[in-house]
């Protein structure tokens, strides 16, 4: 980093106490911390002054009207976009200058709003790509089919099937992933993200296109994943039943600014939120 660049970045100021970490996580260091995070596209400030801290087993939600900058924040956290302002600390490590692949290896798994599966590959192969760094053999071993290849592949396949069985998808393992029904594709994306062994899982509209029954099931599964893997989950969702049902902390975003943060009850009664977001919904 050149000295000039360093000056351009904003100084790290002590943050006001706007973090609502659940009680069980209060004495643990946060899994992710954003300080003054922001990005400008040309003259347009898409996200600015975004501050959060998440406990290591917290489920949080990010809500806001369309175009508020929710997915942009996910893209900033995973370094698809490089932030123009502020800092992201992942387990206390600054992710400045990391590539998306490095951030994933450092522990952020994510899903996408518009599903991005490896469509021409089978369901299990999608999960095995996620397990990439837990499979330990080189190119030579695979070309010469040395014994290590078979033992590692067997181990990885078992692990992949185990992960798929969380969502009861083990029997679809050899199906082409592009031909799965919509809901199953969303679930497969979550499994693939889990396979990378993340400490923070970002879910971008996991319930989009699901019927109420599937959403209910998804809610249970999200909580179950948190309990099983002991990871933090941050999700973007428009389905208020899901957000209010499972999120311990909710942040509300409007025009790239965090306008409110708190527990579901606090958010529901927050006048600024009602004006920006929920108020419109009630009028319908």
């Amino acid at each position: 980093m050149s000295p000039k660049e360093y000056i351009k970045r904003e100084p790290l100021m002590p943050q006001p106490a706007t973090n609502f970490i659940p009680e069980r996580d209060i004495h643990k260091s946060p899994v992710i911390e954003c300080r003054n995070l922001g990005i400008d596209f040309g003259g347009l400030s898409a996200v600015s002054n975004f501050n959060i801290a998440m406990g290591p087993t917290e489920i949080s939600g990010l809500i806001g009207p369309n175009g508020a900058g929710k997915t942009t924040i996910f893209n900033l956290l995973t370094k698809v976009y490089q932030p123009t302002h502020g800092t992201i600390l992942l387990n206390g490590v600054d992710t400045h200058n990391m590539t998306p692949a490095q951030v994933s290896q450092a522990g952020i798994g994510r899903t996408f709003q518009n599903i991005r599966l490896f469509k021409d590959m089978s369901v299990i192969d999608n999960v095995l790509v996620g397990l990439h760094y837990q499979i330990d053999y080189g190119l030579g071993t695979s070309i010469f089919r040395l014994p290590r290849f078979f033992s590692e592949e067997k181990k990885a396949r078992e692990k992949a099937l185990e992960l798929l069985s969380i969502f009861d998808m083990a029997d679809m393992a050899d199906t082409k992933s592009g031909s799965l029904p919509y809901g199953a594709q969303r679930r497969l994306e979550i499994v693939r993200a889990l396979a990378t062994d993340p400490c923070l899982l970002l879910l971008d509209e996991p319930a989009a296109g699901m019927n109420p029954m599937e959403t209910e099931e998804l809610m249970e599964n999200i909580v179950r994943i948190r309990d099983m893997f002991q990871i933090a989950i941050l999700l973007i969702e428009h389905d208020m039943k899901l957000v209010m049902g499972i999120c311990e902390v909710i942040g509300v975003l409007n025009f790239g600014q965090l306008i409110a943060k708190g527990t579901p009850d606090e958010i529901q009664s927050n006048p600024a939120v009602i004006e920006a977001y929920l108020g419109k919904q009630k009028e319908e």
Partner: protein, 356 residues
């Protein structure tokens, strides 16, 4: 209830490919040994192997890695010139011609890999059409390079010059190897059908074993969705360059085999036409379909020779056949018609059956 499309097990498919290639090889090998083949056909056995390997190599880039390369003949040229130079240099020290050829092919593959790696560094940072055009440019650069270099040996030392023949080789001890635009001349023909077959099998094994592994999955993940691959921690550039280097190495080995099959070798052979021809094999055989590539490469190498009886209309007929086959393999109506037709003749003519 849920409409599920089962993916055919690739192991099974790879075994099918090995068996069919071996079977066809054995038939032609025996026919060639007993002299049942005409000299025209037996002369085409090695070029068929070369083009099959080229098609496999390009299929790795286009079908598995998902990037269009229009300069593949360039890597073939690298392998052809380096590999053939090595076999020429070794003609005195290594008496066994097969060993000499294998050394030449290994050297060709190594140089192919090296050049592939070096070209891959800038090229693979581009995407789509831009990448294709830049590979085309690099292919032409390689062609021009080999038509402007002079290489010779004298008393066991190498002499090298560019653009002009400044080698000053002595009459008795000097031996010119590459002579600019004239290329390499009076090459002893050491390429055999058996070695060609072995090269095809090695390339097949490398490709199939790589596809069904951690590396292959990472490469195909980058092809299917670059952003998603990055989101699960795959370093896209690293895997693309791995695939590209392996592909270039195969092309290099094929080039070395090609060079050692003819008495003379000129750089102008490795022009855009050859690159496009190889691409036609891949597109015709189906991207990612190795058996298809093999059939297409073999059929389209034989076809121009088989059409010699049409004399003046040979290339026209060739083009028309190509267009018809393309239509037949892509048009659903044609396809169902052909499936009906082949279904009457034999039960399973689903894949790879249209080409020949």
């Amino acid at each position: 209830m849920i409409k599920s499309v089962k993916i055919k097990d690739r192991i099974e498919k790879s075994v099918l490919t090995y068996i069919s290639v071996t079977a066809v090889f054995l038939v032609f090998f025996v026919m060639n040994m007993t002299g049942a083949l005409s000299s025209k056909i037996s002369g085409m056995l090695v070029p068929i192997c070369v083009y099959v390997v080229m098609a496999l190599s390009l299929n790795l880039t286009v079908g598995i890695m998902g990037e269009l390369s229009l300069g593949h003949a360039g890597f073939m040229a690298v392998g052809a010139f380096t590999g053939t130079s090595v076999t020429m240099m070794l003609s005195d020290s290594v008496s066994n011609s097969a060993v000499r050829l294998i050394i030449g092919m290994v050297v060709g593959a190594l140089f192919g890999a090296l050049i592939g790696f070096l070209i891959g560094i800038p090229v693979l940072r581009l995407k789509g059409d831009y990448l294709a055009i830049v590979t085309l440019a690099f292919g032409e650069i390689i062609k021009s390079f080999f038509s402007n270099i002079y290489l010779g040996t004298e008393n066991g030392s190498l002499r090298f010059s560019v653009l002009q023949n400044n080698l000053d080789l002595s009459e008795e001890n000097g031996k010119i190897i590459i002579e600019g635009a004239m290329g390499i001349r009076s090459i002893p023909k050491t390429a055999t059908f058996l070695i060609g077959y072995i090269l095809v099998m090695i390339c097949l094994a490398v490709i199939f074993n790589m596809i069904k592994s951690r590396t292959g999955r990472a490469i195909m993940a980058c092809r299917d969705n670059r952003i998603a691959a990055e989101s699960v921690g795959i370093p896209v550039f690293r895997y693309k360059i791995t695939a590209f280097t392996i592909s270039a190495a195969m092309a290099g080995a094929a080039g070395a085999l090609f060079g050692n099959n003819y008495s003379s070798l000129v750089a102008s052979k490795f022009n855009i036409d050859t690159s496009i021809l190889i691409l036609v094999f891949v597109v015709l055989g189906g991207q990612g379909n190795m058996l298809g590539s093999i059939i297409a490469a073999a059929a389209l190498t034989v076809l121009p020779e088989a059409l010699r009886s049409f004399a003046d209309y040979r290339m026209l007929t060739y083009a028309i056949i190509l267009i018809l086959v393309m239509l037949a393999t892509n048009n659903p109506q044609f396809r169902s018609f052909f499936e009906k037709l082949t279904g009457k003749l034999k039960k399973n003519g689903k894949e790879g059956g249209h080409e020949s």
